[in-house]
C-alpha cells in the first residue's frame, strides 16, 4: 500500500508526495508527457536526443550534474515511446537542490551549440553500441515498422535512422522544448522522509513562477486493423536463427491489460512456464524463449520470440510456438497455473515497493495513466481475472491475420 498526497500548482504542474520514513534518501522524479510517438516521421529520435540536451545546462545553471553530485545526489533519465522521465535521488537534507535544478531546466535551457554537437555524437555512438554493434541489436528497428503501418510506434526511441539525429538543428531543439517542456505537461513525484507542508512551500517557491503554455493536443494517427499476416526475413551476421512473432493487443490503459499480462506470464514467466518447459526443456528446440507485452500507453504488442537451437528448422520452431498458442486458446489453463502467475505478480509488486525511486516513478506513471489511486488496486485487478477471460484474449490476439513474423537468420 502506497500512501500519497496530490496537489496541482496554478501553472498546471501536478505534484505527488509519498512519505516513507525508513530511508535517508529522497527520490525526485519529473515525468514529461512527451515521447518518441510525438515526433515527426522525418525527425525521429528527437525526444531521446532532447533528453541528452536536458543535461547540457539550463538558463541559470551552467552544469546540471556538478551541483547535484556536490549534494551527494545521483540522477539519470530515460525516454520511451510514450514519456521522457528524469529522476534523481539525494540525501534528504539536500532536497532543495533538486527543486532548484529541476525547476530551472523546466524554466529554460541554455541551448548551447556545443552541447548539441557533442550530444549528437554521443547519441550516434549509443545507436551503434546498442542497436548496430550487437548481435540481434536491430530487431526492434525491423519489427516496429512491420507491425505498425501508420502509428508512430513504428519507430524506436533511438530513431529510424542515424541521419535524423545528424540533421537535428538548434531551431528544432528550441521548438521541441517550447512545445513539450511546460509545467502543465509534467508530473513531479517525490518520495522519502519528507514533510508535505515543506514540499508545498518549496514547490511554490521554485516551480510556481514558471509560466504554463498551451497544452498541445495529441492527435496520433490510428493504426488500422491488420487484415493479413505480415512476414519479413532478414539475414545477419549472427550465430543462430531466431524468430519473432508480434500480435496487436490492447493498451496499458484498457481493462483487458491485466488479463493479457497474465496470459504472457502463463506462457513465459519463470522456469516452470509453458514455453520454457515445452520448447526448451522437453522439445529442445530453443535456447531462449520469451513472451511479453510492450505495455505502452497506446495499443501495444504481444511479443513471442526465441533463439533456435542449431540445426532446428524455422518451420519446426514456428509450428511448435503455434501449437503452444493454440493450446492456450483451447481453454487449457489450470486453476493452479493461474494462481501461480497471480502469486508471482503479488510478489513482484511487493518487491517493487521496496525503494523510494521505484515508488516515485510508479506514482508519476499512474497519474499519467489517468488515475493515481490505481496504484494500490493493481493486485486486486489481477486477482479477479478468470481463466475464461484469458482464453478469450488468447483467441482475440493469436490470429494469423493479427500477426507479424520476423525470421532473423544467421548468414
Amino acid at each position: 500500500m502506497i500512501n500519497f498526497e496530490k496537489f496541482t500548482l496554478d501553472n498546471g504542474l501536478k505534484i505527488i508526495v509519498h512519505k516513507d520514513t525508513s530511508t535517508p534518501l529522497v527520490a525526485f522524479n519529473v515525468l514529461y508527457d512527451v515521447g518518441a510517438k510525438d515526433e515527426q516521421p522525418d525527425k525521429t529520435g528527437f525526444a531521446h536526443l532532447f533528453e541528452h540536451l536536458m543535461f547540457g545546462g539550463s538558463i541559470n545553471i551552467p552544469r546540471y550534474d556538478e551541483p547535484l553530485q556536490k549534494a551527494g545526489g545521483e540522477n539519470n533519465a530515460f525516454t520511451s515511446n510514450d514519456i521522457t522521465n528524469y529522476y534523481l535521488t539525494l540525501p534528504k537534507q539536500n532536497l532543495e537542490t533538486a527543486f532548484w535544478l529541476e525547476s530551472d531546466r523546466m524554466l529554460s535551457l541554455a541551448f548551447s551549440p556545443k552541447s548539441l554537437d557533442v550530444q549528437k555524437n554521443v547519441v550516434i555512438e549509443e545507436f551503434k553500441q546498442v542497436f548496430l554493434n550487437q548481435p540481434y541489436g536491430d530487431v526492434w528497428l525491423l519489427l516496429r515498422p512491420l507491425a505498425y503501418k501508420v502509428h508512430p510506434y513504428q519507430w524506436s526511441t533511438i530513431g529510424k535512422d542515424i541521419s535524423h539525429i545528424e540533421n537535428a538543428r538548434m531551431e528544432n531543439v528550441k521548438a521541441f522544448y517550447k512545445k513539450f517542456y511546460n509545467p502543465n505537461n509534467a508530473i513531479l513525484s517525490i518520495a522519502g522522509d519528507v514533510d508535505i507542508e515543506n514540499i508545498k512551500k518549496l514547490a511554490n517557491k521554485w516551480f510556481a513562477t514558471i509560466k504554463k503554455d498551451k497544452k498541445s493536443l495529441r492527435k496520433l494517427p490510428v493504426e488500422p486493423e491488420q487484415k493479413s499476416p505480415e512476414k519479413l526475413t532478414v539475414k545477419r551476421n549472427v550465430p543462430f536463427n531466431s524468430i519473432y512473432k508480434v500480435f496487436h493487443t490492447c493498451s496499458r490503459r484498457e481493462k483487458e491489460f491485466h488479463t493479457v499480462d497474465l496470459l504472457s506470464d502463463i506462457l513465459s514467466n519463470g522456469n516452470s512456464s509453458r514455453l520454457h518447459q515445452e520448447l526448451i526443456k522437453k522439445q529442445k528446440l530453443f535456447s531462449e524463449i520469451n513472451a511479453f507485452l510492450t505495455g505502452g500507453i497506446e495499443n501495444g504488442l504481444f511479443v513471442v520470440c526465441g533463439k533456435l537451437i542449431k540445426g532446428i528448422s524455422m518451420q519446426k520452431a514456428e509450428e511448435a510456438i503455434n501449437t503452444e498458442l493454440d493450446k492456450i486458446k483451447n481453454n487449457t489453463i489450470e486453476k493452479n497455473e493461474l494462481q501461480k502467475v497471480k502469486n508471482k505478480i503479488e510478489s513482484t509488486l511487493v518487491f517493487s515497493e521496496m525503494n523510494v525511486l521505484n515508488k516515485a516513478m510508479n506514482l508519476a506513471f499512474a497519474e499519467l495513466l489517468g488515475d493515481l489511486s490505481l496504484i494500490n488496486k493493481e493486485i486486486e485487478k489481477y486477482s479477479v481475472v478468470t481463466k475464461e477471460q484469458i482464453c478469450e484474449q488468447a483467441n482475440l490476439i493469436f490470429r494469423e491475420n493479427n500477426c507479424s513474423t520476423l525470421y532473423y537468420l544467421a548468414q
Binding site: D20, S22, T23, P24, L25, I59, I61, D65, E66, P67, Q69, K70, A71, G72, G73, L90, P91, N94, E96, F99, W100, S103, V118, K120, N121, V122, E125, E126, K128, V130, L132, N133, Q134, P135, Y136, T209, N237, V238, P239, F240, N269, G270, S272, Q277, I280, K281, K284, E288, K307, I309, K310, K340, N343, K344, I345, V350, E353, M354, N355, V356
Partner: protein, 428 residues
C-alpha cells in the same frame, strides 16, 4: 511574480554526518553454519543468501564451478527440475544462482508468508542435488549457444581477454573457457566439485529483511540438521600471477562499428591500506557521471556513449580497469585521451573544489548503497568475504572525509603510471 528568487546559487548544502552501521547478529545453526541476521526494512519480505567458497578460482577445468552452481536447481533426490521450478514460481519466489570468481552463491527472494513452503525447496537444492545427465545436456547446449553469441560482442571479448592478459592464462582468475570445454564437460566433474566445495563448513548464510520469531527456528530446522559432504576436503590452491610480457594487445573483429577498449593493471584487494584511498582516485578518474573520463571523452569529445573505471577486489588479488566502447574511427583518439587523463592524476593536484565534490558524491553514494535491507546485506557480504565487518565502512568514511589531494597525487605516481598499464583493443 516574485523577483527575489535567486536561481543562480545552489541552495545551502548540509554535509552528511557520520553514518554508523550496526553489525548484524551472528548465530550458528546446529550443524555449525554461521548465520548473519539483518532485520531491517518496511516490507514483509526476506532475502536468504547462501555463500560457498566455490567460485571459478577453485575449479581445475573451465566451466565446472559455473555449471555446478547453475545445475543445483535442475533436479534433486526428491524432485525433478520442473517440480523445483513449479514450487518456486507458485510461491512467487525468485532464486538466483551466481557463480563468482571466489564465491558461488544461491539467493532466495521471497514473501515472508511463504517461508515455510520455500525453505524445504532451498534445503533440497543445497543438500540433495543430483545433476541429472539429461538436464546437463540441455544446459550445456544452451550455455554453449550463449557463449557463441557473447563472443560476437566486442565488450565481452575485451572483458574476458583482459583478465587473461593481466593474470595469465594458467592463473585461476585469468583462464577462460573455449568452445571445446563445453563438449568436454562431464557430470562427474560437477559431482566431484559439489562434494568438495558445497560443504557445511564452507558455507555462510545471510538473512535480510523482516525477521520474525519463526524465521531462525525454521532456518535451523531445514538448513541446520544436515552435515553436508562432511568427509570431503577441498584442495589447496596456490596462487601465482603470470601476466603477459607485452602490454599492448589487439583482437581483430571484422565489421565492428565500435572498438572495445580496456586499460588497467593488477593491484591488490580490500585488505591493502591503499585500497580505499585508490577508490577515491578511481572515482575522480572514471567512477561517476561527472568523472574526468566521462567529462572529457563523452561530454566534451562525444567519442563514446559511456566510459568508466573500477577497482575490483578479489580474495587473492585485485585489479583496476578503464572500459569503454568508442566509434571505430575515433578509438585511437579515445585511447590517447585516456592516457592523458591517467597522466594528469600524477602531474597536477586535484583542486579543492573537485575533491570536495567527489567526497560529497561518495558519501551520498554510500547512503544509496546501504538503503534498504537487501542493499545493506550486499554491503555486508562484500566485507564478510574478507573476514571483516561493518567497521570497515567506518574506516572507509573516515578516509573519504580526511583524504587530501597531496595523498592522492602520491598514490597516482605510485600506481597509475602509463608504463605499468595493460591495454586491450577489440575491433576493426
Amino acid at each position: 511574480m516574485k523577483k527575489d528568487l535567486n536561481r543562480q546559487d545552489q541552495p545551502e548544502l548540509k554535509t552528511i554526518k557520520k553514518i554508523s552501521l550496526t553489525n548484524p547478529d551472528k548465530i550458528y545453526l546446529d550443524n555449525g553454519i554461521p548465520v548473519y541476521i539483518l532485520d531491517a526494512g518496511t516490507q514483509d519480505i526476506l532475502k536468504i543468501d547462501l555463500i560457498f567458497n566455490a567460485g571459478t578460482y577453485f575449479q581445475n577445468k573451465p566451466l565446472v564451478a559455473l555449471s555446478t552452481n547453475k545445475m543445483l536447481i535442475e533436479g534433486t533426490q526428491n524432485s525433478t527440475a520442473y517440480e523445483i521450478a513449479e514450487k518456486l514460481d507458485y510461491y512467487g519466489a525468485h532464486l538466483e544462482t551466481i557463480p563468482g570468481k571466489d564465491h558461488a552463491s544461491i539467493t532466495l527472494y521471497l514473501l515472508n508468508k511463504h517461508l515455510e513452503k520455500l525453505l524445504p525447496v532451498l534445503a533440497e537444492i543445497i543438500n540433495k542435488p543430483v545433476f541429472p545427465e539429461k538436464e546437463l545436456k540441455t544446459f550445456i547446449k544452451k550455455a554453449k549457444q550463449e557463449f557463441i553469441i557473447n563472443n560476437e560482442k566486442v565488450k565481452y571479448l575485451a572483458k574476458i581477454n583482459f583478465d587473461k592478459i593481466i593474470f595469465g592464462d594458467k592463473n585461476q582468475y585469468g583462464r577462460i573457457a573455449d568452445l571445446k570445454d563445453f563438449d568436454n564437460l562431464e557430470r562427474n566433474f560437477l559431482i566431484d566439485f559439489y562434494k568438495k566445495y558445497y560443504t557445511t563448513k564452507n558455507c555462510k548464510i545471510i538473512v535480510s529483511g523482516k525477521i520474525n520469531n519463526k524465521t531462525i527456528p525454521l532456518l535451523n530446522k531445514l538448513l541446520g540438521s544436515n552435515k553436508q559432504n562432511a568427509g570431503y576436503t577441498e584442495e589447496s590452491k596456490p596462487y601465482k600471477i603470470e601476466d603477459c610480457d607485452a602490454h599492448k594487445h589487439f583482437i581483430k573483429k571484422e565489421d565492428a562499428l565500435q572498438t572495445a577498449i580496456r586499460i588497467g593493471k593488477p593491484l591488490f584487494n580490500k585488505k591493502h591500506p591503499d585500497f580505499i584511498p585508490l577508490q577515491i582516485l578511481n572515482i575522480v578518474l572514471g567512477g561517476y557521471f561527472g568523472s574526468r573520463l566521462m567529462s572529457n571523452i563523452r561530454e566534451d569529445k562525444g567519442y563514446t556513449y559511456g566510459i568508466g573505471s573500477a577497482l575490483i577486489s578479489l580474495q587473492n588479488a585485485g585489479y583496476f580497469y578503464i572500459a569503454t566502447e568508442a566509434g571505430a574511427d575515433v578509438s585511437k583518439k579515445a585511447v590517447n585521451e585516456i592516457y592523458k587523463e591517467i597522466k594528469l592524476l600524477s602531474d597536477e593536484l586535484i583542486s579543492q573544489d573537485e575533491l570536495n565534490l567527489v567526497k560529497n558524491f561518495m558519501l551520498g553514494s554510500f547512503l544509496r548503497s546501504i538503503d534498504g535491507p537487501f542493499a545493506l546485506s550486499e554491503m555486508f557480504i562484500s566485507v564478510l568475504e574478507y573476514d571483516m565487518d561493518f567497521t570497515y565502512y567506518d574506516k572507509y568514511l573516515n578516509i573519504i572525509i580526511s583524504i587530501t589531494s597531496e595523498t592522492l597525487i602520491q598514490l597516482a605516481k605510485k600506481y597509475f603510471t602509463k608504463e605499468t598499464m595493460f591495454e586491450l583493443l577489440v575491433g576493426k
